[in-house]
Amino acid sequence: MTRRIRKLHLLVWALLAVLLPALFFAAIGLRHAEPVNRSIPARNLQTR
């Protein structure tokens, strides 16, 4: 009975081990760049 659940568990986590890190890095890599007002001198920009 539990063998089926164990197989499902391994399959699900093998899948998530690929999908979730891919999603995580894609989400960070593709986020909007912060807009920059080039008319303001760099020395006057507040940085976080």
Binding site: R6, L10, A14, L16, A17, P21, R48
Partner: protein
């Protein structure tokens, strides 16, 4: 193995567990709001609570997901597993507070129903940075609600253990949705590496723990023995007193217990939540499941009266210090004489 329905079968251990969890949540929220207000003077109390409940729920979900695999590696974590359902229900409520505060903050002041607003206000499904991430959180919350609502032995018994187990594996889907909810939501605006670092660390921890546990279980299943009427499964000396060794016979895990100068074998799968009986011990003459304490008599596989749970038994005999096991299981609850050492 309750005789009658009770909402929560309170005992001292459960009260301590719940007190620690609720005190931990309260302390986390107080610290988060206090430090958040000091660091970011522009953040309103509503915003801090939304962030506080959100991060708290995510941390709790990581803990819930780590308990199972950690118990496969060390029995030290079993006390956490005993009341894992309480932690799961707490996670749902924390997530629900996060959702309700967010809906009030971002959707309640318009002319359309706030829930409808969540569903229709953003349809940019093709964009990563503008993805409607709130929908992901809503679906995850619905899954967590289903799990919290059925986190009771009443539902476990009525749905049957396999159906209940399968339903509760939806927590993995909820987890994936919540990782996406955070990655496509707050991480699109929050460029500080702190939150991304924590999420990445938690994600790596959960994935590695589950894969390691799954691979370890796969190895145990691969040790299949079978073929003849009786098979040699182990030496008597391999079984510690009042404990068991677990072997896979014809695809089924069997727990072979040694106790009081005798050896008996029963199915390794507890009728309650499919817990590993072979990792439990014999207490007061009964095999006791390490997960929630369900008990079975080793010679019959039946729970002592008035309880009615039964597991399959196996015929055993001892020859030259070796334990031989019949490869075909007896029907659950069938008496089989223990082999004397």
């Amino acid at each position: 193995m309750s005789e009658k329905y009770v909402a929560v079968g309170w005992n001292r251990q459960k009260k301590i567990y719940d007190t620690v969890v609720l005190a931990g949540v309260a302390a986390y929220l107080a610290l988060f709001v206090g430090i958040g207000a000091a660091v970011d003077g522009n953040a309103t109390i509503e915003t801090l609570l939304i962030r506080g409940f959100g991060t708290c729920g995510l941390i709790l979900l990581h803990v819930v997901l780590l308990i199972g695999p950690l118990c496969r590696f060390s029995p030290l974590f079993l006390p956490l597993l005993y009341n894992r359902r309480h932690l799961g229900v707490t996670t749902f409520f924390i997530g629900a507070f996060h959702g309700v505060f967010s809906i009030i903050q971002f959707h309640a002041l318009g002319v359309i129903n706030p829930i409808v607003s969540v569903l229709v206000n953003n349809t940019r499904f093709g964009s990563v940075p503008d993805f409607p991430f709130q929908l992901l959180g809503l679906v995850a919350l619905i899954i967590l609600f289903l799990m919290a609502a059925t986190s009771h032995d009443f539902w476990l018994k009525n749905l049957s253990a396999p159906v209940w187990k399968t339903l509760h594996t939806l927590v993995y889907v909820a987890y994936a949705l919540l990782v996406a909810h955070v990655a496509l939501g707050v991480l699109q605006a929050e460029t500080s590496p702190v939150l991304a670092g924590f999420l990445g660390f938690g994600l790596a921890l959960v994935i590695v723990a589950h894969l390691a546990a799954a691979i370890r279980e796969r190895k145990t299943d691969a040790e299949t023995v079978g073929g003849g009427d009786f098979v040699d499964v182990c030496a008597i000396d391999e079984i510690p007193e009042k404990r068991a060794c677990v072997r896979t016979v014809n695809g089924e895990r069997v727990a072979i217990f040694r106790y009081d100068g005798k050896v008996s074998a029963i199915s390794n799968v507890c009728r309650h939540q499919a817990g590993p009986l072979g990792e439990g011990k014999v207490i007061d003459g009964c095999v006791t499941c390490p997960w929630h304490g369900f008990q079975y008599l080793p010679e019959t596989g039946a729970s002592p009266p008035p309880f009615t749970e039964k597991v399959a038994t196996y015929d055993v005999k001892i020859t030259d210090g070796r334990v031989l096991l019949r490869t075909v299981a007896n029907k659950p609850g069938t008496f089989t004489e223990a082999a004397k050492i």
